[in-house]
Symmetry: D2
Subunit: 283 residues, 4 copies
Amino acid sequence: MSELTKNIVWDDVKHDPNAVKVLDHGFVVLKETMGSDSTIAESARVSYGAGTKTISDDRNLIRYLMRHHHTSPFEMAEARFLVKVPVFIWRQWIRHRTANVNELSGRYSELPEEYYVPDEWRAQSVTNKQGGEEPMFYESKNVEEAAFDEYRNRLNEGVSRELARTCLPVSHYTLAYWKCDIHNIMHFLKLRLHSHAQHEIQLYARTIYTLLKDRFPLTVEAFEDYVLNCESFSRMELHLLKEMLKQSKMTIFTEARAEDMGMSRREYVEFSNKISKIFNFNK
Amino acid sequence: MSELTKNIVWDDVKHDPNAVKVLDHGFVVLKETMGSDSTIAESARVSYGAGTKTISDDRNLIRYLMRHHHTSPFEMAEARFLVKVPVFIWRQWIRHRTANVNELSGRYSELPEEYYVPDEWRAQSVTNKQGGEEPMFYESKNVEEAAFDEYRNRLNEGVSRELARTCLPVSHYTLAYWKCDIHNIMHFLKLRLHSHAQHEIQLYARTIYTLLKDRFPLTVEAFEDYVLNCESFSRMELHLLKEMLKQSKMTIFTEARAEDMGMSRREYVEFSNKISKIFNFNK
Amino acid sequence: MSELTKNIVWDDVKHDPNAVKVLDHGFVVLKETMGSDSTIAESARVSYGAGTKTISDDRNLIRYLMRHHHTSPFEMAEARFLVKVPVFIWRQWIRHRTANVNELSGRYSELPEEYYVPDEWRAQSVTNKQGGEEPMFYESKNVEEAAFDEYRNRLNEGVSRELARTCLPVSHYTLAYWKCDIHNIMHFLKLRLHSHAQHEIQLYARTIYTLLKDRFPLTVEAFEDYVLNCESFSRMELHLLKEMLKQSKMTIFTEARAEDMGMSRREYVEFSNKISKIFNFNK
Amino acid sequence: MSELTKNIVWDDVKHDPNAVKVLDHGFVVLKETMGSDSTIAESARVSYGAGTKTISDDRNLIRYLMRHHHTSPFEMAEARFLVKVPVFIWRQWIRHRTANVNELSGRYSELPEEYYVPDEWRAQSVTNKQGGEEPMFYESKNVEEAAFDEYRNRLNEGVSRELARTCLPVSHYTLAYWKCDIHNIMHFLKLRLHSHAQHEIQLYARTIYTLLKDRFPLTVEAFEDYVLNCESFSRMELHLLKEMLKQSKMTIFTEARAEDMGMSRREYVEFSNKISKIFNFNK
């Protein structure tokens, strides 16, 4: 590859000690963050004023914000990543529009022969139309090598980079800076950690999740409790729940039991209200 | 008021038969929509392809999309409104950033003496820090009139409109076109129909909701069942639910019961899975 | 291809009489627009009030808005397209974030063997690092066919669609609904009609431009005069211009001359002011 | 004012040494930035690869990006401000949608009696419909005090904060965190430093501009040269320029002259191309 068309960042990052490996050739590097759990709490305090004095500490305030979908304070912190990722995954990633992106361009740089090959093939799921599930044996024929050979041949013959690359497989790696506020990263994580997301993007999401938790521990803890591991019930489902619960003895619920689970007094009241609402459902 | 500085649209719209009155001087006019329930279903079909054949009709497909937070097809339809609203309410409205707005400017037009006076005063709630609740008697002193007098005096003396208006109360009415895709209108409705939203913006939201339902009946029906009237339970709440449900006899649930509630077979399976998940929870 | 995994829209659209062909297998269909030149003018009138009475007709008002970067009225109209486009072009397209998108998913549908092959190869430009320029002879080796063979083989063996597709070339076609307001479509056009944009996306932009002009003639005319064919000069360039113009006789400029060019009186004054500003530049 | 409804941040920030005063009671505090000129250059390098090697240093690269509207690298840096600003100005500010905001809420906090009174009144401009121009004498009647008296009376009588505040003037101060990427801050500055923007928001823009320049000197320098102090000429204006330039002797332009102005060789070529384009204009 000509020195002139090599991508500088691609080479520089190869030995970055902060790069967390994902897939066969991919990685995620957390380059920088702005703000912290405290920034988020401080931002909420300008809106809610002394009302937040009763929610005295940052942890309680952050949990309150997360529980009640007061999302704007979580936009006040940011994280910037450098990611290397196969194009077919990047195409899913980029659908999250509220983010800032600078991606390597195959019009400027020659693309190195790096492409993703699954170390385990997954069979098409019958029930889940979008996904693959069980591992299966498949002896793949390598067609990628021929594609890269043709690519290099085109370049050698003087074909423009922008046309030469058209034969490359969607499994080839690309490199991008991705910057996003914490609210929108959590939205990304909610969708991409989901079991229906493609396995490969789940692995990237998992990595970002771990890196984020390290910097924003209170926020990510609240995210786990109120978003990631929550469950929503539709109007009709709430009716079914009501019928199921009718047979249950509400009396078993003491506030103490809720406290054991780590719920605040305020949360317990909110829960009781939800249950009462279910019982008062009539339609 | 000088003919030269009157706002044309303000006067024109006064007798619009499509204007739905809100508050003492406000209104909402639905000017135009693009797309329909069918557009939304059609948009989903390009993504999900033959997978949506099994979800044969538009209603089922739309309900599936809403239930599973596949939001992008709902962005494929739009609605454009003309609204007249007090400034303190408009300031809440405008916080929804994914919308297009053209608002009357007090730098160009002279502002007519129209301001909101509640026909019933609400006392400060003690439990709900952001809201007012119970009606109360309060004999308000009119300070708005003096503000408008001073405003007009400034104009008469030649003060620029941009400075003259600074003394006007935040209750004065403004006028704006507001255009938004259906997904984001539903997000607006979810937040502004909420009982914790200020009463006045709830009234506007209610009006928009009714107008929208007329044009997008299937979408709004699904929105009611899966968003507006749904309830989310946190990780801890799901534990409490589990304990309550333990005492219940699951056997009462026949699919027939779910069908009575208008749930599809697919939804019933999803519900069963949620309940199983709750039972398999071990912190 | 199995009936179950065929994409419905892909087949339906094949014989759409409104599809404008682009490249070997691509097209653009204008599905729907909301609003018109009049909507844009009407939206401006709510903001600028009687101030726009002096700009009496829609054409003049639209030209004024375009000239002075009053962009929000142009957001009040929308257009929705169905496009079929090679993935490497779509990746450039999707970088415009202020748009709504529903794209075919290779996780749900089997991808037909349709990929872009240039009918003329372009050599790498030496001066323009991002582009190709002169046509050249190149005998391309077909590596795409082998990739699609491998793809189908994977599917036949039961590999999940989401993994099977990874070997397909970035030249394979995808299908998407793309909806965007007129302001942002013009921004897209400005960048993608530019001679430095890749030739293939220029062709799509050209098609959208023609379709848009048919529906929004006044807006597109103003876009041509004030955006597409305008030229910006930097601080330093204005100094150079000043020196060049110093030798020129300003007197040749009569308002009549400007009128011949189709400029309004107001525009002529604006131009004179720009020239005066240049002459009064002192670093 | 009750301790319970005081806004914490409002009081805390009063003596912040970093607060830059604007107007009678307002200020801007730069709380935090993420990234630097180097971050911006580094982000461009991932896209343009070795192509940027010829643009060796950060300054040249940043100037190139600014000149050619390659805006995405400028989105890779952020700044977060705390601002105190009158409501009528904030209403203009908030129209910039690509930003993150947390504003004080009058539903939670009691609003202190602080409102903007111009130290000099401006007369309505006749030529510029939106603005005020010449200073004038005007003896303003204070109607704001009565509004605040009524406000406090309402609160004392138990009226909810959300209704009590409706009589307050739009000149009353609000407090907000405002976070924005550098590209969008520059867009804000371009519009709000403009002589047609309201004088008061120009003062805020000026303050932000100064704070930004301190942290991103190369970026702001390029912004000045290629955006703030540039001038655009329409299709018709370019024709007029052509006629003016026809009489000029192009020969006066040596590259050396351009170099004196601080232009790079590359820029000089670009300028020559623009001039040639003007001369080849025919329509």
